[in-house]
Amino acid sequence: MPIIETKHLYKHFDGVRAVDHLSVAFEKGQITSVVGPNGSGKSTLVNLLTGMIPVDGGEIVVAGSVRFTKIKSHEVKDYGITRTFQDVRLFEQMPVLDNVLVVLTERGVFASLFEKHSPYHLEKAEEVLRRVGLWGKRHELALGLSYGQRKLLEIARVLATDADTILLDEPFAGLFPEMLKVVVDICKELKVKGKTLILIEHNMDLIRELSDHIYVLDAGKLLAEGKPQSVLARRDVIEAYLGE
Amino acid sequence: MEDNKPKILSWVILLAVIIVGGFFFARTAKAPEVAGPISLGVILPLTGDGAVYGEPALNVYQLAVDEINKSGGVGGRDLVLVVEDGKCNGKDGANAAQKLVNVDKVQIIIGGICSSESLAAVPIAEAGKVALFSPGASSPDLTGRSPYFFRDYPSDASQGRVLAELAYKKGWRTVAFIQESLDYPLGIFKAFDARFSELGGKTVKEEFPTGASDFRSSIAKLQSQKPDALFVDTQAPAASVRIAKQVKELKWNPPLLVADIVVGDPKTVSENKALFEGAFGAEFGVDPNNPKFQHLLESYKQKYNAELPYQAYGQTEYDALYLVKEGIAAVGLDGQKLAAWSRTIKDWDGASGQVTIEATGDRASGHVLKIVKDGKTELYTE
């Protein structure tokens, strides 16, 4: 059963169709990858799914029943969805620990005002930070981290939310091998735990290794879909990737 | 806790600032002396829009103090001025008064020139039992405000009233006002409006915020209401000049009424002859034949090489110092006694004519009508 589906989803920027009547579905408990050349609409799709930008047409269906054309970004969490960002958006001038704690504490205005982080929150933060190897840097400001560490912190933040559906926007790009392994392992663990992963990636080897299903986008349209091995072998897909 | 260091350091700095500051202020504070020069507090605007009044006022004070000291001071003691900038607003007026009362320990403060300065200074002077003597604040709000406050400049109520009566006599029934949004111009308007409506006339008004420079649309709007005369009512002469110029540029030539700050400023009137020709104003009693006033004009010119501006204020400022001198000679240097003494001033001959202070602290007597003729202000007689 698909956890998220899009139906004729449409988005344009100044007349350019970034996502063009796209209908895709992401199965529960699986890793689905979205690939395509730069500018094919992958990140736009993720931004539409998380309410970061308004939808121009079509609809998004969550858990088979909730349909909406408008979603506010702060409501995304209620559907068990969370994400990372292609350009790594951390809370720069805050310590690493606070970057994680902020996704653990109360969401309400009043509730959060009368709450300080509890031992439970701290435990959870420690768990995820240790998982990505940043516990030792918990008091440092996020902006002082290396690029790889920043990506790991973003993954830790996502882990802390315990969301069921996780959208990872280029999680492997620019990582050194040892860090890459950590992230790949985390993806596998998440799948074992029954989480749904949506992966935007360029690393074809990892996509082959991890994905259950892939969608290939080109100019906002669906070019191909299916099992990674078969799809990635298709001539039109390769051409779209190599361009021109 | 390595990151606490800068915080602790800052706390130390803060503490040091307070302690050093406190010490500094405490050291500067001194007890009232029985010998040596007598300190007189002065509050006037030296910066901002009001500075145009503050600067000549300070000159007049200094002139009078020099004269008094040359003739032996008060009981052999010289007078010195402790000057603070009240900036023509309440906050700085209060700050200035606090310093004069509590640090310099003066017994009498001459000021402020502006009503806002004075209004804010009154409670501070009263709490410190210091007399507050204003030669320029004209707000009706100051009437009877405190037993420690008095002034030798009459309340605005009289300026507006006199002009309203003139306007009615001239047969004008609708007078347009273009008024700056400040206390002094508003005070004049209120007094004028009250008297004029009582007589059966009507006012129409456009206000503008301080600092505005384009009045054309306001003027055009007033013009379209076909008033019999236009009252240009601003805090300082510069704005009146701007407005009068724009009125002419719109080819409108109504009979003009202006505030005393225009007719009282020979420079403005002579430099803008064409603009203000025939304008009426009510100035508070400048009597060119008064020998003391003549003496003031001459000494001012001699000392500062300039014509005394705002003569209506100059005369009361000059008198204020001499009144203070007499007061100290009569009852001693004591704020409470000086304030009480002020109420006994009656028909005292000064540069501004005969001064009488009423029980409310206001000066008795009021404004006389003036007209601008050929670049000069003359007494107007019907």
Binding site: S73, Q93, L101, F114 | A51, A127
Partner: protein
């Protein structure tokens, strides 16, 4: 000594203003240039209900804070739509609009005439008419506001604010309704600023619109930035330095007409130098 007390009262008033503005600028990261508007609303409401309706100071204080909060709610709802420089500009706009109301709504505010004769506080026969007791009252309020700000800072709410300052969109994806947080902070800051206004009105006993113009807002912003963004102690430090500095200039013997302008030059250069070399201020932890 009374003069020192006077200065400390002024420091207290500006400390409250800086503490509350720091909630908006330092913690939430919104460069708000209309602090003087809420300062003024507090002062005007207090002055009006005390002089015209004979309210007790403390009641007037609360009425002022509520009124200020109410207006902040309306303004905040509009302002929260803006970000960055547009927020700053729009806030300047609101300051000028509110100032215009003080100046032009003369039936209520007496316009440029100002409101004289505002009484000093008293309660249960206890009067705060002398400056020393007033200083105690003002200090108590500073401590109260300081503790409230620290409480906010240390709560989860405070952490969310800082996260909003860093990346509003990212926070919202994690389930926070950013608008409510911004609005709540804004309303609280406005209410605190109104306390400062009440103290000011009752202390000086006379208010007029000129005190609540944009330049006062810029001054309060300079206090916050100098003291340190996102630092409550920094706010108090900034208030102490910038209130005492010009007073010290009085004693140095600058000619008074130049001294006032020199002060403006010093504020201006201070802002430039801080931005160039220490954009987080003296004790701040956050750089603009």
């Amino acid at each position: 000594m009374p003069y020192v007390i006077h200065l400390l009262i002024m420091v207290s008033i500006y400390s409250i203003l800086a503490l509350s503005l720091n909630l908006v600028v330092g913690f939430t990261g919104l460069v708000f240039v209309a602090a003087a508007a809420f300062f003024g609303i507090g002062a005007y409401v207090t002055a009006i209900v005390m002089t015209s309706f004979g309210f007790n100071f403390f009641l007037a204080c609360i009425v002022g804070a509520l009124f200020s909060a109410l207006i902040a709610f309306a303004i905040g709802a509009v302002l929260s739509k803006f970000r960055g420089d547009y927020y700053t500009l729009a806030s300047v706009g609101f300051n000028i609009i509110i100032y215009s109301v003080f100046l032009n709504w003369q039936t209520v505010t007496r316009g440029p005439l100002g409101i004289p004769g505002i009484p000093r506080p008293s309660i249960f026969g206890l009067s705060f008419s002398d400056n020393f007791s007033f200083l105690i009252l003002a200090s108590l309020l500073v401590i109260l506001v300081f503790l409230a700000c620290r409480f906010i800072e240390q709560s989860s709410f405070g952490r969310v604010l800082r996260a909003i300052r860093e990346d509003e969109k990212a926070v919202s994806v994690f389930g926070y309704e950013v608008l409510y947080f911004k609005l709540a902070t804004f309303v609280v800051a406005a209410a605190f600023s109104a306390f400062a206004g009440s103290l000011y009105a009752s202390y000086i006993t006379f208010i007029d619109p000129s005190t609540f113009f944009v330049n006062e807002s810029i001054f309060i912003l300079a206090v916050v930035i100098l003291g340190g963004l996102a630092s409550n102690r920094g706010a108090v430090l900034g208030a102490a330095v910038l209130v005492l500095l010009p007073e010290a200039l009085r004693f140095v013997g600058f000619p008074p007409d130049i001294a006032a302008q020199m002060r403006q030059v010093v504020y201006g250069l201070l802002l430039v130098i801080l931005m160039m070399y220490r954009p987080q201020g003296l004790m701040g932890e956050y750089k603009l």
